[in-house]
Symmetry: C2
């Protein structure tokens, strides 16, 4: 029994914030429409007057975010209205990933289509090299903003606190890259991308296999970040308390058995993943496990061993099935998630994007 | 920017449901007031008219849930209004717990005060014995309803699917007890009780040490139940993959090292708890661990070993402190949580409680 009141709040609402709210409402309405939508229908869906919708639409067209198509010819009677649609070229998101042995970048357009991608394998995970790889994207696409995926712990202010497998501590990525960038954990960004691809409000754990092993936990359609934003460190779950030493200082961490450098022993990796994933299911009662990174293509080989351990170790294994599947987006999930986060920010707050002083990243 | 509209909904709202909503609103307003509150103030807080509030208050007084006190004499000028307060004797909640080696029951009144409790140690965990223990509570308090805490997996319809340490499978507790009862996992109920005692919207894991070891996970002020309601099975996290056999069929489960039957080896128990809790913190980035059941009084002995493993195995241990503390409510937490769930239901839906045909449990 709650309802949304435009501009309702306990404090007086400034005109500019009402406009920003309504611009986002109109843009989201057009973005969510499967077919071009008329100004009149946009007014009906949003509850805003036709005059207000028209003024906002004009601003969004002038800012390049929307286009208005002529109506398609129709055989029946009556004249169909002109339709509004996102202008795919209206804004671009730059998604970057620095990992231990590769660098990657992609540009996606406002409709979410990847317009260019580059992956450099066997590269040193290094921000100067990342900046060189990103430069042509900045020049050619003038992205609205950039987002970077890293295999490490990122604090709220964007500082990379620790990336054990890169040997990084307290790294300011924006300063090193030479342009503004938001930073997030690679498994979190990949999980968000997987969530958008899945749609709805699913719950799952996305496990990202690289040199390190991380996870993004999605509960009821929301990324669960934890008290400090450092959830999902499945790579450091203990699978053998006196086992192999890990870069983190502990012994027997999952990533020493199932990270990229250990995966050649596929049975050992599957068993270790099964032990760690059993802990996840026992704790969180998730019914879906998504395997990404190097695990996606290896799923047929890994699945029997993982499922054997799940059957053995999950208390509810005979009551409640757990689905194991490969990530929909494969190895690109993290950089896609990064680029999508930029586009998401434009669609959620077009007013900021349209401000004349905010012209995106400068070439 | 949301606001609550009385009776607003997409479907037509029946008068009876508006009345039920408003009864709950008035009762909650009085319950949340630290001091007796006047009818006029209740009208101001709820936004309901004075006439509506008065009619609802009269019904709540007639049903025994509220009392109206005369104003306290005051030295200053002006006549203070009469004050409304919960009537503690207006409804009772019966909380029951069946565990592997004890039975417990308590009655709490509408204000949450425990009015009687009984604990029978070294008892067989058996529903016929539980029914005998509960009988005087039913006779003397005529509780609004009863709730039962069990160390097992409970399905949405109240069936106890599995309680490994009781050897139960598919047990219908209400049928065995001979009176209606809601059933929930003991660690979940204890975590809810701990949450109410803490107030606010904390995140923590409550670990319940008995013969078995379970947990309730509270995220941002809400109990996290999982896809099927079977989250928190920390007792079956693997702390040694080839270790001691467990009743669940797996090997190396935490409860074989830190359950009541193994706790005499305090260092081994602390290490095992530390390994399992490190997995919890690595996955969920929780900053608070609450130890209940047998662990509460043992905390001083357990703490050094648990904290050693947390320092060693939690990736963020040098960045983010984790607080380890004993449960506020001690061994009573689960049955208190059960009894509170009954009172909560009365306060959330007084209309159902006030219906003449619902007179609580029959003696």
């Amino acid at each position: 029994m709650t309802t949304r009141i435009q501009g309702a709040s306990s404090a007086p609402v400034r005109q500019s914030s009402v406009r920003a709210h309504n611009l986002a409402l109109v843009l989201r309405t057009v973005a969510n429409s499967e077919i071009p939508i008329s100004r009149a229908s946009t007014s009906a869906v949003t509850g805003l007057t036709r005059a207000t919708v028209s003024a906002l639409v004009d601003d969004l067209i002038a800012g390049g975010l929307l286009t208005e198509h002529d109506p398609a010819p129709r055989s029946g009677a009556g004249r169909p209205a002109a339709g509004l649609a996102l202008n795919p070229d209206g804004a671009f998101g730059l998604g970057l990933e620095v990992n231990v042995d590769y660098l990657a970048a992609c540009a996606i357009d406002l409709s979410g289509v990847v317009r260019r991608r580059v992956v450099e394998d066997h590269a040193q995970g290094d921000l100067a090299a990342m900046a060189r790889l990103a430069r042509p994207f900045v020049d050619d696409f003038r992205p609205a903003a950039a987002a970077l995926a890293v295999p490490g712990l990122v604090s709220g202010d964007g500082l990379i606190r620790v990336a054990p497998n890169l040997g990084w501590r307290d790294v300011d990525a924006a300063a090193a890259l030479g342009f503004p960038v938001t930073v997030d954990n690679e498994a979190n960004l990949a999980a968000l991308s997987e969530l958008r691809a899945a749609g709805g409000r699913p719950s799952f754990i996305y496990v990202s296999g690289e040199i390190g092993v991380g996870a993004g936990i999605v509960l009821d359609g929301e990324l669960y970040r934890g008290a400090r934003g450092w959830s999902g460190e499945i790579g450091h779950l203990t699978v053998d308390p006196d086992g192999r030493p890990c870069r983190c200082g502990a012994r027997g961490c999952l990533e020493q058995y199932a990270g990229q450098e250990a995966i050649h022993d596929i049975d050992g990796a599957a068993t270790a993943l099964g032990v760690a994933l059993s802990a996840v299911v026992n704790l969180l009662d998730l019914d879906t496990i998504v395997l990404g990174g190097i695990y996606g293509p290896l799923l047929p080989e890994l699945q029997p061993g993982i499922e054997r351990e799940l059957r053995r170790r999950v208390l509810t294994s005979d009551l409640a099935p757990v689905t194991l599947r490969a990530a929909a987006l494969g190895a690109d999930a993290a950089m896609r998630g990064a680029a999508e986060s930029v586009i998401r920010a434009v669609i959620d707050d077009p007013a900021t994007f349209l401000k004349p002083q905010v012209a995106g990243l400068k070439p």
